[in-house]
Symmetry: C2
Subunit: 433 residues, 2 copies
Amino acid sequence: MSSLNGTEADFEDTAHASDLAAWLETLPRDAALERLARLPLPRRADAFGYLRIATQRDLARLLPAADLAAIVVEMDADDRADLFKALSAGERQRILPMLPPEDRDDIRRLSAHDEGTAGAIMTSDFVTLDPAMTAADAIAALRLSAADAETIYRSYVLDGDGRLVGSVRLHRLILAAEDAPVAAIMESVPVSVGPLTDQEEVARAIARYDILAIPVVETDGRLVGIVTHDDAADALQAETTEDFQRISTVLPFTQSLRDAGIGMLYSRRIVWLALLVFGNLFSGAGIAFFEETILAYVSLVFFLPLLIDSSGNAGSQSATLMVRALATGDVALRDWRALILRELAVAAALGATMAAVVAPLGAWRGGPDIALVVAATMMVVVVIGSLVGMSLPFLLSRLRLDPATASGPLVTTISDAVGVMVYFSVATAVLAP
Amino acid sequence: MSSLNGTEADFEDTAHASDLAAWLETLPRDAALERLARLPLPRRADAFGYLRIATQRDLARLLPAADLAAIVVEMDADDRADLFKALSAGERQRILPMLPPEDRDDIRRLSAHDEGTAGAIMTSDFVTLDPAMTAADAIAALRLSAADAETIYRSYVLDGDGRLVGSVRLHRLILAAEDAPVAAIMESVPVSVGPLTDQEEVARAIARYDILAIPVVETDGRLVGIVTHDDAADALQAETTEDFQRISTVLPFTQSLRDAGIGMLYSRRIVWLALLVFGNLFSGAGIAFFEETILAYVSLVFFLPLLIDSSGNAGSQSATLMVRALATGDVALRDWRALILRELAVAAALGATMAAVVAPLGAWRGGPDIALVVAATMMVVVVIGSLVGMSLPFLLSRLRLDPATASGPLVTTISDAVGVMVYFSVATAVLAP
């Protein structure tokens, strides 16, 4: 990646607001405030909006109320709603009275929505048109509002009751005859979401239709906001990171891993680690049950880690593939029946190959009987691990839990317990005198 | 999500091309061809471009050369380059002669780039302007080329040698005086990439700067293409899916999981499953070495699955967090030194807690000596697992391998072998008569 303009000297004047914010993050808070104060207001608000929320909150506390209010008025509607969610009630009260009434209402409305929904990531920065306007009127309206609009490339056409009836692309307006009514050049809106729609679904719709923004409408058809492609992409990235965390039994956190504290990381990781201890008690109990077999054939223990790991590995392969396919919409809940037979076939082939790999090892370490026990167990545990791994994400999803939740380790723990029972049962049956 | 327009009757006329393509996918190939033939050409090309590559290839083989050429000319430049990559040499030769020379060159150029680079996902559909043009000329130029442009909202300004000197946003052109020269209203380009830049980095730059497209320039400054936000997002989604696959030891594949065949899934999964068998031999050898200790204290075996799994779970927590942080750019290679001390502190806290959890279990099953052995081993293996899990993605990344490659299972296998040695060494030391 290379920068085509700007020397270091004029960095503060010419850098992209995103780069400026990244640089401000590296400064002590008071130095950052001083640098911010030197910027012209629109640029100051822009850079402020790109700062991390924690930094925004720190600086907001240090700024005089009037200075903060000036920045807040200039900020993008969705960014300032996020800032307000991060402030305490007292801090909000410090600046709300200094804002124009319409900004106040807008902030209250946007910051009222639950995390993870379209409502929480939508913005009110968009342009609306009347169907009876002419193309020339519409362009004039766009000129007036352009500075405020998150995207001016598509305007939304509302009827008298605020219901969304269509949309107009900027280039259609430009190409149209000046006196053409908006109603004649508008397009129908192929897709919209509700304020409660899950943000993952919003992002999938934007990707599917290759659109810059998706309108958010109430059930009565009134347009209440739009979600832009960049905010949807940010939300999707955050959800994907959460899936990675869940799959490895880390409780979700949104902070940067680089800045995360020891106590926070400890608390996110210990819960599942400790919970899974109790799952493993079943494996231990199984082994205790077969104490005599172990004492008679101690070489069985040599293969325990191998069998346990192979079953867990096969299971987490299946689980991870399913978790991802469910998250991207590649697979839906109703596909379970169709996929389970294929999984069985794949798992049988995997199990047979693994059995062929370990049989010689068993023969070498413990003779033909041990080889038979180890190979038969391998076949069974790989199949069971795969079936559990494939089905668990569906089950979690069905129970309205996130399918990624601890899928890998839950699968490992379940298939370990089953594996131990299978192993020593087979061993007792084959080796019994 | 709700659709605001269209009844089933006029689906073929009004549906979004993406929905139309999804429906065509469900039909037999010949029925799909027949439906396609009924659509007006621009819409036919649009829907064709949304089909999966495998479907496009199948239909391309069935279509008469002239019909296929007509679609190819209309398709987006990046989509048709992807189609050409999927066709055999003979099939390419069947239609290339029927294309206009400029489309032929364009396809050859775009399809020459390696998968995973900016060059492979860039498009040549963009509008270029001359710095000396007036705003009115520029708008006229845009009108002529708009239908072909992947995005007309930003045009690129090139000097006489084709070097990128700036860009102009559509709304700036509209707001400018008609006779204002493009040079006066253009903005500098904050960021660009080269044709060989990794597609993940391209997507990160687009997200960071909230831009619709990023220009791709050669080292001499010539503009060769742009990557649009939607194509970058698709590429990023594919890379993330690959990371999920790698982390669970599935060799990457790009096909839909729903449509994947048994043979393909088997071949993607067996390689690492079988390879990891040999890793587990170390654990088995470790156990064999301590045969006497096991025979004297068989209750040690009860805790083997628990200790092995806890070490593996702690390790895969660390590994997954790092893999994701490296992929999103949250953490860079140089951060390893700074993070290892924090990881040590977190792991020590986790290990101490886990030791406290298992000590009573050890005491219950085998008395105070076993409790001491199990608790001490738990402490050590959780710390070792975490450090290995955290460091391995950095090491793989340093070796220019994908950090996600087998991080989880590699970590599990390594920490299993170490864990077994630690366990029975501690046991022999504590329990020796």
